[in-house]
Every structure is written in structure tokens, then in C-alpha cells.
Symmetry: C2
Subunit: 129 residues, 2 copies
Amino acid sequence: MNILDDLKYNEQGLIPAIVQDATSGRVLMMAWMNRESLERTLEIGEMVYWSRSRRELWHKGATSGHTQKVIDLAFDCDRDALLARVEQVGAACHEGYQSCFFRSIQSGEPVVTEERLVDPEKVYGKAAQ
Amino acid sequence: MNILDDLKYNEQGLIPAIVQDATSGRVLMMAWMNRESLERTLEIGEMVYWSRSRRELWHKGATSGHTQKVIDLAFDCDRDALLARVEQVGAACHEGYQSCFFRSIQSGEPVVTEERLVDPEKVYGKAAQ
């Protein structure tokens, strides 16, 4: 059996993927994959997700250049979550931070915990959000 | 506004939580939280999830002793995922591994990539699965 058939996708056919910088260990983002995006990821060696908002395959970095080279792709004991260790080019977050998890809850308040790496307007243009 | 009201829960009222060992950086597991489990987590300083199978709050380690002390709790740019950095006692995975992500896909095949830390039968008894 193909291992991709053995994973558990949710009712939308999706499985969550945690993305970690293979060098620093920083958790960069979480996104969703479907079977097709997983096949494409394994084929090209770069992370390809399923964009739930645009309802299409999303080759991360195709526009920004901030690609994610796959170093290792693991799955959990329940087979319903993935962990990708990647080489991240530039910033993972569309807001210009290294990690999407740039805010923490401290004493009940949101606190920004890292510096912005790049200006998102320069990467995505003013229309970016 | 309470920051917990500002997070995006899915249609089941849940938000995914990535759990990372604060010292080693190893990603240990992914589980789901609801607003109540988040409040309880912040209150006691240990990870409390929502068990989707048992449909109840799940204080990780209450049975096994393998608790997770919260060091930092971050949320992502879309406010629909959490990253908890924790001090993990013992093994995070109910199968006895440090991490639930103990298998990787290599050349299309599942490969176990870490040693078992503990015998699950000794922690949870023979009925464990």
C-alpha cells in the first residue's frame, strides 16, 4: 500500500502539516495538505500545500521566492498530522516574520516575540494581505 | 478583548496546538484545544487538550505522569493555530516514543527514526492503545 493512502485525511480530504526549520528548529508555520499536494511535494522536493481560501494547490514561495526545500517528512502515531523539516528561504510568514508564530500570550496579552525579517510590501506588493 | 476570544476556532470550536520540547526543539505532537482547555492550560500551567475521541478535557499526563509544563504559548498570524513550547516529562507519545512523529516517509516508505523511550504497557497498562 502506498503510504499516502495510509494517512488519515479529514472530511475535507486534508491533513495538517507542521513546518519546522531543519537547521534552527524554529517552528515556522502550519498549513494543510491534500493527497495531491503531498504527491507534488514528494515529486519536486519543495512544500506544496492546499490553499483552503483559494481552493488550489499552493507551491509555497512560487511568488515570493521563499521556498521550502523538504529535508524530512514525518507523520504522527495517529497518521493524522505531518511534520516537515525544511530549508526555508527568507521568511516563512507572509507578514515578513521568520515564523508565523511571532506572537505569544503573556499574562493574557499578545506580545510580539521576534523581529520582522522583511517588509511584506517589498515581497508581495501593496495588495498583499 | 480577551485574547482567547480573538483566536479562530473551527466549526467544532477547536484550534490545533503544535507542541514542542522547549529545550531540544523536537516537535512532540499535535493535539486540539477548545476555549475551555486553553483557559485551564493557562490556569494550571500544564497542557490540557480537548480529546475528540473521548469528548472531554484531557490533562496530558494525568494518568501516565508525562505532563507538559507550559514555557511559552504562541499563536500564528492567522490566529488559527497554536505553538506550545513545553517541558515534557517522559515520553510525549502514547506509543512510548519521545515524539509522536517517530516515522518518516523515505523513498515512499515509512521508516522509524527514533528509539522507543518507554514501554507503553508499563505506563498505561495492557489495555492501552
